[in-house]
Symmetry: C2
Subunit: 637 residues, 2 copies
C-alpha cells in the first residue's frame, strides 16, 4: 500500500495491545520503543503475544541517546539483535547531537549492515531510518526568545550526511524527516528531496484546527507534502506523534487520508513510467540486439514524440522543391509524349523519403500522413535490419499502405538491410530516423547516419537535423545505493551508465550542453568523419552537498523549429520515450557551497564499439571510469 | 493460476481470432503454430493484431520435422527468433524420431538457451517443452494388429533424456507428456514423475462418453492425473487437442475443471510446506546462527513431533526410579525430622530434567505435561544459548510456569548458556534435546550432546536415544537444474547440500541407512569420542535412468518405541519440521537397468567445523564433492 500512516507510541506496557488499538483506529503501523524508556538495562517487551504477521507492523523506536556512553552502545546493539530476532523490518533512530556520538552510532549501524549480509540464509537486517528535524530545534526555540537566532540550517542534513558517508550510502539507510515548522528555503528543501526519505513525521501540534474543530495542515505544509510525494513517487509513510489535541487520534489519520484523495497526491505521469521511478536499467543497444515486439509497441504509443516527427516531416516536405513541378503537367499536348513525360517526371517528381531503422513502421505512417497534408506523393523506403520487424512491416504494407500500388500520397518499399551497408537504388530527398538514446548519441545515431553517405546528396534533408547531450552533477543516495545491490550481477557497477526515471535526486547545478552532432551534410564518407568528443565541464554547487555522479539528457532539432527535449528546463510535456541516464562516481564526495565540480567526459570510437569515459577533476580527482570501455561499451556490430 | 487448461489449434489463418474464441470458451491459452503447416518458407502470422497481454497466452507449436534437413533447422531457428521477438513464453516442440535429428534439434535448443543468457537486459528465452508420448506410437498402432508387439517402452524417455543430457538439464527445458492410452507399468510412470513435466496433453479421443453424452476420463487416467498433480505440486497445464467429439469443445474444459474441484486434486500437505515444493534451501545452522523468532514459531506448531516427544518424556519419567520414593513419606514421625527428611528427599526425589537447546520452550511445556501425567515432580533446567529466546523463556516462566515457586508438577530454571560449556549445579536424570537436522546429525547434535558429559551419569536417559541418516540416489531434473540458476549466488552449487520438500523426483532405489549415533552413555568426555564416519553404499537401478545426486533422510528413536522419521517408508504422517536434504552430483550420469550405483559418503570432524564429502565410485568415478568442507561446512562455533 502506498503512503501508509503510522502512530508513534511513546510509552507502552503492552505493545501487542497498543498495536491492535491503533490498527483498529485505522493506522497501518505503530512506532514504539522495545524497552520502557526509563529502564536502563535491556529488558524488552516480549514477543510472546505478538503474532508473526503483526511484527511487520511494528517500527522499533530508539530515542535520542548519548553514544559516548558504552552502556548506550550496548543497549542499542541489544535492541538491534532483538528486533532482528522478532522479525521487525524497520528501526527509527533519533539522531544524536554531538560528533563523537554520531560516529559511534554510525559504527554500530554499519556493523549491523555488514554482519547481516554475510548470512544470506538469514532474515535481512532491518532498515534503519535516521530521525532528523527539517528545522533545527535551536531555531524552533529561538522563536520564543528575542535574541538573534544563531541557527545553522545545514545542521540536520550534515548529521545525516555524516552517518550516510560512513555507511557508504547503504541501501538500507533512510531518512525519517520531522516536518517541524514552516519549510526552510527552497534550495535546502530540494536537497532533502535527493535523500532517501521513507518517513515524514508530523506532530499533532503541527496541525491547525478548522472551524469544525478538526485538525488540518497549513498550505505551506500541504505544498511540502505534495512535493515530497512526487519526488518519492509515493514510497514513504507518515508517522503521527504527540498527544491527541483534536478529539480523537484517528482524526489526524482521516485528514491525511483526505489529502491522499486530493490532487495533491496525483501523479500525472504516463503509465509507462509508473513503477520505474528511480529504477536503474541497462541501456538498450538496438544496433547490437534486435528489439522485441513489445518494446516497439510501448515506444510507438508516445504520441507527443510522433506528433513532433509528423510536424517536422511535413515542414521538410513542404521545403523539398521537386513538387513544384506539378504545374508543368498542364502544358503537355500528345498522349504518348505525355506517358513518357509522366514517367520522366514520376522519377523526378516523387520525393524519396528513406526511413532508416523503420522498426514496425511508426515513422512510415507519419511520413505518409505528412505527404497527404503537404499534398505530395512520396516513395518511402523503410529500411530495417531486424528480420522480425520486417514481418510486421510486410503485413502493414499490404493492409494499410496499399501494397505494390501504394496509396494516393505515396508507396512504401520494405528493405531488410542494415542502413550502413544497403546498396540503395536512388538518392534520398529526405532521411528520417529515430536512433537517439537518453544521452543523444549513445545509441550510435552518428555512426549509423554516417553510413548512409552514398545514397544522399548535399540537398538531402535529415530528420533529426542535430542533437546535443547535457549533463549535471547529482546528489542521489537512492540511485547510488542501488549499485551496491547491483554488484551481485554486475561486478563493476560504477563503470556503467543507467537509464532511469529520476525522481529522488537533487540536481546540484543546472545542466550544461556536452556533445553536439549536426547532420546538415551527410555526403562525406565515414572515414572522413570523427565522432569522438571530449569536454571538461565546470559546475558550481549552491549548498553543502554530496555528489553521487551526474545525470545526462539530450535535446534534438528534428527540423526547423521542431524540437524534442528531455532536458528539465525545455522538456516536451508527457513524452515518455526517454528517461535520463545516470553515470555514477565510484567514490561520492562532499562539496561545499560555491565549490567547483569539474568533470571530464569523453566519447571514444573504436573499431568495434563506442564508449564514454568520465573523470572527476575537482574537488578530488577520481579514477577514469569505464577506462577503454572495458565495462560499458556500445557495440557497432 | 494453478493447472491452467489450453487448447491446441492445428491450423489457423488468424491466431488472434482463434485465441479470443478459445479464451471466450474458458480456455486459458492456446497452442498454435507460427506458420501455416503447409508453408515451407518462414512466413509467420504477424503479431500486428495480437495485443501485448495476449501473447503470453500463446504457446508456439512446432510440429514433428526431420532436422536432418538444413531447411527444417533454419525454419525452427526463425520460429525461435520470431517467438522471442513477439514475447511468447513457451514453445512446444514435437520430438523427432531419429538420433541425428534429435542431435540437431538439441543443438538448436542449446544455442537458444546460451545466446539468451548473454544479454541479461533482454527478454528471457522462451521455455522449451519437448512433446513425447507416454506410450510409444508403435505400441499404440500394434493394438490394431495381431502380431507380437515389438515395443520399446523406454523409447520416449530415452529421446527426452538425450535432449536433456545435451542441454545439461537446463532449467528452461521441460516435458510435455502426451497421455495417449492406458498407463504403462508403475515404475516407468514413477520415472516420468522425476521429469520436469509442465504440460499434460490429452486428445479428445481419449475421453469416454458418459450417459449424458458428456466427455469423461477413465479411472486409470484419473489416477494418473492425480499422481501427476501431486508430484508436480499443481505446477503444470493441460492441453486438449483433437476435434470436438462431444457437442462442444468447452465440455472437455468443464470436465477437467470438475476434476480440479474434486479430492483428486486435493493436496493435504501442511500450509508450512505449500510453496516450498522442490525449492532448494540452504540448511539452517542453529549452532552458529541464532534462530529468528518466526522460525521458532513455525517449528513450534508441529503437533505430531511434539506429541511424540511428550510420549517419550512420559515413558522416560515413568522409568526414572526416584519417584518410587514417594511411599517412604508415610513413615516419618516428627515434624522437624520430617522437614529435614523432606529437604533430603526433595533432592533425591525430584527428578532433574535438562532441556538443552530449549529455544522458546516447547519441550519445557511437554516435560511439565509429562510430569503431570506421570505424577512426578520435576526440576527443569532450560538451557539456551540464544539471548533473544531467553527473553521469551523468562516471560513464559513467570506467566505459565509458576515463576520461582513453580507448579505442582515442577519448577523451571532458565539458563542462558551454551550447553557444552555450562557448569551445571547437579546431574541430570533426563536430558531432552531437539538438535536434529534433515540428515539426522547435520545440525551437530552428536557434538552438542558430547558436551554435556560432566552433568550426566551412566543412568541419565537421553531423549533422543539414537538416530540414523538414510540416503538413496535420485533422478530429478527439477532439483538439479536449479543449481544452474543458483550459480549466480553460489559459485559452487554442486558442493553443497540443500534442504528441500522433494516432489518432482524419482527415487532410483530404496533408501539405505548411513550413519547412526547412539546416546546411551553420555559420560565419556568429548576427546574420547569419534563422531567422524565413512560409508560406501551400493544401490541398484530398476530402469534406465539418470542420477542427479542423492536424497538424505533420518529416523530417530526418542525413547523406547517412540520414533520420529522422515524416511518415506516409515515417516510420521503430517509432521513438517524436516524436509529431506539433497546432495547433488556435479555431473549427472546415465544408468542402465540393474546397474550398480556406488556412493561413498564421509562425515568429517575438524576443529572448527563438521562437513560431508561425497563421491560416486560407480558407474563412473566422480570428483570428491565438498572436499575438505571448502564450500559446505557446519560450524562448531
Amino acid at each position: 500500500m502506498k503512503v501508509a500512516i503510522g502512530y508513534q507510541v511513546h510509552n507502552s506496557e503492552n505493545i501487542a495491545l497498543s498495536l491492535r488499538q491503533h490498527l483498529d483506529n485505522g493506522y497501518n503501523f505503530i512506532v514504539a520503543p522495545l524497552v520502557h524508556p526509563r529502564v536502563k538495562k535491556f529488558v524488552p517487551y516480549s514477543d510472546v503475544f505478538l503474532g508473526g504477521s503483526e511484527r511487520s507492523k511494528l517500527v522499533v523506536y530508539i530515542p535520542k541517546r548519548d553514544y559516548n556512553l558504552k552502556n548506550n552502545c550496548s543497549l542499542i546493539e541489544s535492541e538491534f539483535n532483538y528486533a532482528n530476532h522478532i522479525g521487525v523490518n524497520t528501526m527509527l533512530i533519533d539522531c544524536p547531537d554531538n560528533r563523537v556520538a554520531l560516529k559511534n552510532l554510525s559504527d554500530i549501524i554499519n556493523r549491523q549492515f555488514v554482519s547481516s549480509s554475510e548470512h544470506f540464509n538469514e532474515h535481512q537486517a532491518p532498515s534503519v531510518c535516521i530521525k532528523v528535524p527539517l528545522i533545527p530545534y535551536k531555531s524552533y526555540s529561538s522563536k520564543w526568545r528575542d535574541d538573534e537566532p544563531d541557527v545553522d540550517y545545514d545542521e540536520s542534513w550534515e548529521k545525516w550526511n555524516f552517518i550516510r558517508m560512513i555507511t557508504q550510502s547503504h541501501p538500507k539507510l533512510f531518512v525519517a524527516l520531522e516536518l517541524n515548522g514552516d519549510p526552510i528555503d527552497p534550495e535546502r528543501i530540494e536537497r532533502w528531496f535527493g535523500e532517501p526519505i521513507v518517513m515524514a513525521l508530523l506532530s499533532t501540534s503541527s496541525f491547525l484546527t478548522n472551524s469544525s474543530k478538526y485538525p488540518v495542515l497549513s498550505k505551506a505544509y500541504q505544498q511540502l507534502i505534495q512535493k515530497l510525494n512526487f519526488k518519492l513517487a509515493g514510497n514513504f509513510s507518515f508517522v503521527i506523534n504527540g498527544n491527541n489535541l483534536h478529539g480523537h487520534l484517528k482524526h489526524y489519520l482521516q485528514y491525511i487520508n483526505h489529502l491522499k484523495s486530493t490532487d495533491l497526491f496525483e501523479d500525472k505521469i504516463s503509465k509507462f513510467c509508473l513503477g520505474y521511478e528511480d529504477v536503474l536499467q541497462i541501456p538498450l543497444q538496438p544496433l547490437k540486439d534486435n528489439l522485441d515486439s513489445l518494446v516497439y509497441e510501448v515506444f510507438e504509443t508516445d504520441d507527443i514524440k510522433y506528433q513532433q516527427y509528423e510536424l517536422a516531416i511535413y515542414k521538410a516536405m513542404k521545403k523539398i522543391d521537386k513538387t513544384d513541378m506539378y504545374v508543368i503537367l498542364l502544358f503537355i499536348p500528345s498522349f504518348l509524349s505525355m506517358i513518357n513525360f509522366l514517367n520522366c517526371i514520376t522519377n523526378r517528381f516523387n520525393s524519396v523519403a528513406m526511413v532508416v531503422g523503420a522498426g514496425r513502421g511508426p515513422l512510415v505512417e507519419k511520413a505518409l500522413k505528412a505527404a497527404e497534408q503537404s499534398k505530395k506523393y512520396v516513395t518511402i523506403y523503410a529500411v530495417e535490419k531486424n528480420v522480425n520487424a520486417i514481418v510486421t512491416l510486410d503485413v502493414l504494407r499490404d493492409l494499410r499502405w496499399g501494397g505494390n500500388a501504394g496509396l494516393s500520397n505515396g508507396v512504401v518499399q520494405i528493405i531488410n538491410e542494415d542502413m550502413r551497408y544497403w546498396a540503395a537504388p536512388r538518392k534520398a530527398d529526405l532521411v528520417i530516423s529515430e536512433l537517439l538514446g537518453s544521452f543523444g548519441d549513445n545509441e550510435l545515431s552518428p555512426e549509423c547516419l554516417d553510413g548512409i553517405w552514398n545514397y544522399v546528396t548535399k540537398e538531402t534533408i535529415n530528420i533529426p537535423r542535430s542533437y546535443s547531450s547535457y549533463m549535471c552533477p547529482v546528489q542521489s543516495h537512492k540511485l547510488y545505493s542501488q549499485l551496491l545491490i547491483d554488484k551481485k550481477i554486475n561486478n563493476n557497477p560504477y563503470d556503467y551508465g543507467y537509464v532511469v526515471h529520476v525522481r529522488n535526486a537533487y540536481l546540484i547545478d543546472d545542466p550544461q550542453k556536452v556533445f553536439t552532432f549536426v547532420h546538415d551534410d551527410l555526403t562525406k564518407p565515414p572515414n572522413e568523419r570523427d565522432n569522438s568528443r571530449a569536454k571538461t565541464m565546470t559546475f558550481r554547487s549552491k549548498l553543502k552537498t554530496v555528489c553521487h555522479g551526474f545525470v545526462g539528457y539530450f535535446d534534438c532539432c528534428l527540423y526547423d523549429d521542431i524540437y524534442l527535449s528531455i532536458v528539465p528546463s525545455t522538456q516536451n510535456a508527457n513524452m515518455f520515450s526517454w528517461f535520463p541516464i545516470y553515470f555514477p562516481f565510484q567514490v561520492p564526495f562532499n562539496v561545499d557551497p560555491n565549490d567547483e565540480i569539474v568533470i571530464h567526459l569523453t566519447r571514444n570510437v573504436g573499431n568495434n564499439s563506442v564508449w564514454y569515459e568520465w573523470t572527476v577533476q575537482q574537488p578530488t580527482p577520481s579514477k577514469i571510469h569505464n577506462l577503454k570501455g572495458k565495462h560499458y561499451s556500445i557495440s557497432l556490430h
